[in-house]
Subunit: 382 residues, 2 copies
DNA sequence: CCGCTGTATGGAATCGTTTCCATCCTGGTG
DNA sequence: CACCAGGATGGAAACGATTCCATACAGCGG
């Protein structure tokens, strides 16, 4: 390999073009690597410091020099390498985003919010999905730390150790949607799930429903901070406040998979044909409830009313359209990114940011049918 | 700022701990920056080269030394910086992924496929959304080039210049889902949309439908390579093959927004109450068709049959469940990533990878109703 | 006893930036 | 005319890894 001199007007290099024998050893073709700041400096006949000054607009540069540099930049199609800069400045300009599963509509909304905010702040987003697997989450966080991201936004699933290690490594962390109680020192952006569930229960109770089923997520020893814990706990509290003793039998939990959700919904609706309403704690569970109701020939809302937490696009397409507790996924993502990047003050004192939810009333809930319908329904049920 | 000597067993440094006056100037607290390979070397009393050898397993190292190094690594919680490594090796280990909108279910599926493949190959994924805006896309590509990503996977929207510039900068590019005809040199992974549309048309024709509406996307001068062009063109061809002259009036195009899709669907169904089936070219258009049909009190499939391209989760939840042409979004993402990272041969010869589609038959299509129903329906319509 | 092979190791160059600092020069002021 | 402020500029030192190369030493055959 040999460098060839540039024969242009400046007498300097024409750029970083080199000649190199191709693999077959027969034809030779020019191979160009990306131009560096040195190439630009050489071509513009200035020092690298001057090029840097022109490009970053930091120091004083004479107009003539600036023009020469910019021309060289254009001619060489020079793009400064973020690697060199990051190494020197100790900031990469990118943040990590760890969600459960990007195809989940809520995660996707949240990601969209993060992307929107990151874009306005000029940051890149490194995305990965942990699939609710703490080990995978830990590995992802490890790799993000290696990448020296400026910060991490996560819907956390695992235990605290890895997150604490990340913070010790100097990476800022903000949780979204969930906040493990064992990590109170890490700031978080949450939805007001309690208010959402409460409004749903009150709405159903207001329609006259007395026996309301709850489809929740498995988190038996769930800390109070967890969404699973909050929703179920609030469900019980809200019922109690209304003077409705919650029957243990009406609360069913499922793992976060379609199959498990379906099984849970089927179990609940078959076991308790006397219930007149169901509150699903996630959109997966809502989906399962709808499908099971359809399978059992239960009319919505005539036979059973359904509300679910998470307003996903299909809620409107359902027949009837589904009443849902809308949680501001996009806003949460945006806010989390803001807290991470431009609100270190809030990062210090650890109170979570809580965004409001909204009960979106559509057509899936009706007044409790005059005739409880236990007989009629048990006839239909298998 | 002052370094303090480590007083441990080795007599070396205890790590990169420094003392620094805090902002208020009152309390002094230890501030630790991330350990570097030098800190490890010092602590293990070896050279940096040896540390590197231990960690990358490249050269010969005596067991005793290896143990000392590993201990130092543990004690300092050392994580090699990807920046330093990337700068030296000229590979960042990350790829860019440019989609239209991450909340779009198809984009999300594709992204999931890319993530899955990237994970198996140890690559990171930098995600951004171009929102169908060529200018935004161009800016994103520019920034990805600055980041020196190893490659880019994109659902392209803009013109060729920027992509060619990226390739000139040495970044490999693979297109997914769409392949601008003006860039035949860039490899691509596509769905067999033609076969999908054809099977849908044949299915509808087989059910007896003669007047089939088409809801497509705007791309008037769309190059044949574009999905918009392919779907519409195939629709016409397939009709013609069946001896059904396509009426211009039955083909409507919309921009890729909910409003535009809704307007298009409403226009079509109101203007042509005589049509008995609709083929929607995207899931947004399918959604619009369903909502409009519901609004016009058209029963599906009794009054109008609906098929759409793209099988999204809500298709199954619709009532009736929607017949759809499933396109393997996840597989396309996975494959695109494979082509990008481990199939340079395929990258050379530019034939696109085409993955099969599948017509998923559900309940939204029925035989053409005996009575065309023009009278009855026009009565219902407004 | 000499030279050779091969393992174990450390020093130093390199990757592409930013930025500190020294130098040079110009024009204004005493 | 000497001096100085300050604008323009270039050299060189980081930043944190990898990797080439030189060195040191042990074992061994001739």
């Amino acid at each position: 390999m040999e460098t060839i001199p540039y024969s242009g007007d400046m007498g300097g290099w024409g750029g970083p073009v080199r000649w190199e024998a191709s693999a077959d050893g027969v034809c030779e073709r020019p191979v160009s690597r990306a131009a560096t700041i040195k190439d630009v400096a050489r071509r513009a006949e200035v020092g690298v410091a001057t090029v840097s000054r022109v490009l970053s607009g930091s120091g004083p540069v004479s107009p003539a020099t600036r023009e020469r540099v910019l021309r060289a930049v254009r001619e060489l199609e020079y793009r400064p390498s973020a690697l060199g800069r990051s190494l020197k400045t100790q900031r990469t300009g990118s943040i990590g985003l760890v969600v459960g599963e990007i195809t989940d509509p809520f995660c996707a909304e949240l990601a969209a919010g993060v992307l929107a905010c990151a874009r306005t702040l000029g940051e890149h987003v490194l995305l990965d999905a942990a699939h609710d697997d703490p080990a995978r989450e830990a590995e992802i966080v490890d790799r993000l730390v290696e990448q020296r991201v400026d910060g991490i936004i996560a819907i956390p699933t695992g235990h605290g150790d890895r997150w604490r290690a990340a913070m010790r490594a100097g990476v800022a962390v903000v949780f979204a949607d969930r906040a493990p109680a064992e990590l109170p020192e890490i700031p978080s952006v949450l939805a007001d799930d309690a208010a959402g569930v409460r409004s749903a229960v009150e709405y159903l109770a207001g329609l006259g429903h007395r026996r309301i089923g709850f489809l929740g997520t498995t988190a038996p020893g769930a800390a109070p901070g967890t969404d699973a814990g909050v929703r179920e706990a609030t469900f019980r509290t809200a019922l109690a406040e209304r003077g409705l003793a919650p029957e243990e039998d009406l609360v069913v939990r499922a793992r976060p998979s379609r199959d498990s959700a379906f099984a849970a919904a089927a179990g609940l609706l078959q076991r308790r044909p006397d219930l007149t309403a169901v509150l699903a704690a996630t959109h997966l569970l809502g989906e399962a409830a709808v499908l099971v109701a359809r399978e059992l020939d239960l009319r919505i809302p005539a036979d059973v009313s359904i509300v679910m937490v998470d307003d996903v696009p299909w809620a409107e397409l359902c027949d009837p359209p589904l009443t849902a507790v809308a949680r501001p996924g996009r806003d949460m993502g945006y806010r989390a990114c803001e807290v991470l990047l431009r609100d270190p003050a809030r990062r210090e004192r650890g109170r979570p940011v809580v965004l409001p939810t909204e009960l979106v009333i559509r057509g899936s809930c009706g007044p409790r049918t005059g005739m409880p319908g236990g007989a009629a329904r048990s006839a239909r049920t298998r």
